[in-house]
Subunit: 360 residues, 2 copies
């Protein structure tokens, strides 16, 4: 049966990069590798401009009825003065919350062809391939009580609460273990169990859940040490699993190790396997509409979609291989350009991936 | 009047590295650069072995009566099975708490002679000189409520609370601004103000306090972006100021950028200017007693002590210059050894610093 994909291009370079990802989906559809139906909807600033709401009811209904959502990017200076409830980012956060997307998958992969882009020495990062699994709906970003109160003395006091239940920890650990089973079978759970009771419980649950995965080698690391180790020897990691705030920090740190964040996709999954897929980079309003944005992170996000929500791992492998091939061919968008390579625009890069998919 | 320094050597390599730091203090005393009185006391595993308590009352009394405490390192496998209240680390935490050491100063400095030790490319890190000012007595590490509760469903739920009052934020910002006034006058305050109300308040207080320091250029950065920027372009930073948990993560990340954590000192100050000074590295039980440990971080901690608690900035400058000189001479302990340099032991390195101080 045909799988449904909702495409929400969003703002800035969103429409341009998503157009290239759609070319890739169409090519795979044409040669019978996948069977998908695409729909489009508005989100972010584009939705606000059209209907006064960054997440229109219609978009949400369509998203819930889809197997996967492909998102470009949202936001831009045009909407920054809006009330927080109307800002483009609300569209994104609303989709995450309404779909229950609790598992954020953030690969940090450094293609050997781009090793020079890293600020780290090539021998430290060449071949880097980490998958960070970040819990996305709990932790201190959502915990109650929260806010700023005024004490009897008149002084203000700010509070946020880190909260996890055992079941929340267990389900994110299962996601990490399942992914690790298809990779190197090594999971590093990151916590601050020596100081924070909440994460001490996290460690216990991770350990207990791992008992059901005898092939998985589980290790534990304190978050401050994890930040050090990512800089010292990042290739020691296979899959990392951690809470929302630690994952926020570590996934961005790991992404930057590659030096080419225009190449990095992401996935956010719920318990039913529905997912939202998007590049980790932003809407880059400064270069929007100029046809120079790098579409590869969005195309690789389609690859993750095929792997994690559409049960088409072979087609996903083909996308990964096609991206590898265009890099081998020396094609580079401006953000990853280096000497001796050939600089191409957004559409030319998308076309090159489609050609590589066809084995040309 | 003579200033009082309490020396607590601690465990593992602690006594060896502290012995070299004392040589440096004695040399400065001998040539009239400083006027100090040294006392010694037990802390950590050494104290537990002697009197059954990692922080004996006598040590605490002496520490409170001192202008500064010089600490080597605490801990080791010998004491790991002890109850948490008796572990060596309790001695350290107890000293911090009892002295009210709320301001942790963590320089991340990469000596040009050691630029190759970094996992980052030399052009990214050579000349790195960041001062991270971390709040040390508040935040989620101390906030109430905390712990693990059992819900009516039988499921457990872990909680920790991030808490800051305005006055806590203001006093740590003042420390950062005061330090920045003696450096590049640039302070980056790190928060997660877009998500956490507690740190939104932090940002407001930082901004308000900065108004009293018209020469300071204050910027704000989200913690996940700060972790990225430390990897991407660490030399953009002069002084960073942040809360306890973000500071824990970022200061370790920044330290590892240098690739030579055997070189990094630290200070923890209270409102009276009393301070505890210690290398950031641990007690390294695996190499203890072999005379191969690097004493330079401890010697540089003495430099910080002279600068921040003993009002002897010129003597502090002399220590920094002497360490620079021994590195220029090609002397290296095992942890920072590289080709073409001369490997020396702990005592020989200490002697070389003393000789460099004397202008030899
Ligand atoms: Mg982030
Ligand atoms: Mg730490």
């Amino acid at each position: 049966m045909s799988k449904k994909i909702l495409v929400v291009a969003g703002d800035g370079i969103g429409p341009e990069i998503v157009a290239e990802a759609i070319k890739v989906l169409n090519a795979l559809q044409a040669d019978g590798a996948i069977d998908v139906t695409l729909e489009e909807a508005l989100v972010g600033g584009a939705a606000y401009d059209a209907v006064g709401n960054p997440l229109p009811e219609e978009t949400l209904t369509k998203a819930k009825a889809s197997d996967a959502v492909l998102l470009g990017a949202v936001g831009g200076p045009k909407w920054e003065s809006l009330h927080i409830s109307k800002r483009p980012e609300r569209g994104l956060l609303g989709l995450r919350a309404e779909l229950g997307l609790f598992a954020n998958l953030r690969p940090a992969v450094l293609y050997p062809q781009l090793a020079a882009a890293s600020t780290l020495k090539p021998e430290i990062v060449a071949g880097l391939d980490i998958m960070i699994v970040r819990e996305l709906t709990g932790d201190i970003y959502f915990g109650q009580p929260r806010g700023v109160e005024t004490l009897p003395s008149g002084e203000r006091r700010g509070i946020n609460t880190m909260v996890y239940t055992e079941s929340e920890v267990e389900r994110i650990c299962r996601v990490a273990f399942d992914i690790a089973m298809k990779r190197g079978k090594k999971v590093c759970s990151v916590d601050k169990a020596n100081v924070l009771e909440c994460t001490e419980m996290w460690r216990e649950v991770a350990t207990k859940t791992a008992a059901e995965y005898p092939e998985i080698s589980l290790s534990h690391m304190y978050v401050d040490n994890a930040a050090m180790q990512l800089v010292r020897a990042p290739k020691q990691f296979d899959v990392m699993v951690t809470g929302n705030i630690f994952g926020d920090i570590l996934s961005d740190c790991a992404a930057m190790l590659t030096g080419s964040i225009g190449m990095l996709p992401s996935a956010s999954l719920n318990e039913k396997g529905q997912g939202m897929y998007e590049p980790i980079h932003g809407s880059a309003p400064d270069i929007a509409g100029r046809g120079v944005a790098n579409p590869l992170a969005t195309i690789l996000s389609v690859g993750m979609m095929l792997r994690y929500s559409l049960d088409a791992p072979e087609a996903a492998d083909r996308i990964d291989a096609a991206v590898f091939k265009v890099l081998d061919q020396g094609l580079r968008t401006a953000d990853i350009m280096s000497e001796g390579m050939r600089q191409v625009g957004t559409a030319e890069m998308g076309d090159a991936v489609v050609a590589a998919l066809a084995g040309e």
